[in-house]
Amino acid sequence: MTISITINGEARDIPHAMSVAELLSTFQLEAKKIAVERNLEIVPRSAYQAVSVEDGDKLEIVRFVGGG
């Protein structure tokens, strides 16, 4: 069943509830280059398989970029 989540401020529908790891691979994101926050809580990299993304979740996925 499709679920609705918010990633980086944008509403998105994904086909079903899935682990953070699966979500990252859906978006072709390499786990070692990013960090994930789910509903204002950091998801440790070691928990990407264990933590699942549920309907209504708000996620932030960030990386390092150039800055001063």
Partner: protein, 261 residues
């Protein structure tokens, strides 16, 4: 015969660095140019920002593909954060992305000046230190504020020389000097340096290091400016250690007065 003045390495959160120059990674034409400038600068630490990934273009170039966090210390900043909570949230993500504790805290007060909001900076510093971070802190050039940040437990104090990105040089050298004299943690001028001589000036004032981004990235030749900054920081440091001559009102001949024909 060469004589190298004795110096201790720059130590930040227990780690020693040979270079006293930290460079930013914003505003470059490309990450490739940034990586070349980094090499020319000899810097061992770069500041980086934390931003949302681009979900629509996963193949967009990533900073970590050009500069290896295993070879260079990434110093995540809180640029763009206007509250203590924003800053803490950003750096928690940075810690997860990078797996290290050394961070640059900057809590801004105003978009036009990018001047630090000091009450929020104090609060954010306390929150971060309680959470196990090693905090290098961007601050105004107020010696009392600098001392307060040191007492809170920041591992480096980083007063601005002039507003971020302004390239105006060190506007208040007396305060920078007073901050240096009263600090027992490293003091780095962060922001405001526009060219090599201004980095040298910061070092001659006794600063432990300089952070610069725009002065290099917006130079006509960023790679050559990166090299100039490297030499300026070394020159300024050596001049500081050497101890400058006293200023005098009148001339003092360098050649002997006796033995004139």
């Amino acid at each position: 015969m060469t004589h190298t003045p004795e110096d201790k390495p720059l130590t930040l959160a227990g780690r020693e660095y040979t270079s006293r120059l930290i460079i930013g990674t914003g505003k470059y034409e490309s990450y490739e140019q940034n990586a070349q400038a980094l090499k020319a600068s000899g810097a061992e630490i770069i500041t980086v920002a934390v931003r949302r990934v681009n979900l629509t273009d996963p193949d967009a170039p990533m900073l970590v593909d050009y500069i290896d966090p295993k070879e260079v210390t990434f110093l995540p900043n809180t640029a763009g954060c206007f509250t203590g909570e924003d800053a803490v949230r950003t750096l928690r993500l940075a810690r997860e992305a990078g797996d290290w504790n050394l961070v640059k805290l900057e809590v801004l007060g105003d978009k036009a000046t990018l001047y630090p909001n000091m009450p929020e900076t104090f609060r954010a510093a306390e929150l971060l230190i309680k959470d196990g971070f090693d905090v290098m802190v961007y601050c105004n050039d107020d010696p009392i504020a600098a001392k307060t940040l040191e007492e809170i437990g920041c591992c480096a104090i980083m007063p601005l020389g002039a507003p971020i990105g302004s390239g105006l040089g060190i506007q208040n050298p007396v305060n920078i000097r007073v901050i240096v004299e009263n600090a027992s943690v490293p003091v780095l001028v962060d922001a405001g340096v526009g060219t090599a001589s201004e980095s040298a000036e910061a070092m001659e004032l006794g600063c432990d290091g300089v952070i610069t981004n725009t002065a290099i990235a917006e130079a006509k030749d960023p790679i050559m400016m990166a090299s100039a900054m490297k030499h300026a920081v070394i020159a300024g440091r050596e001049a500081y250690l050497a101890g400058r001559m006293a200023r005098k009102m009148y001339a003092d001949p360098s050649s002997p007065l006796g033995g004139l024909i």
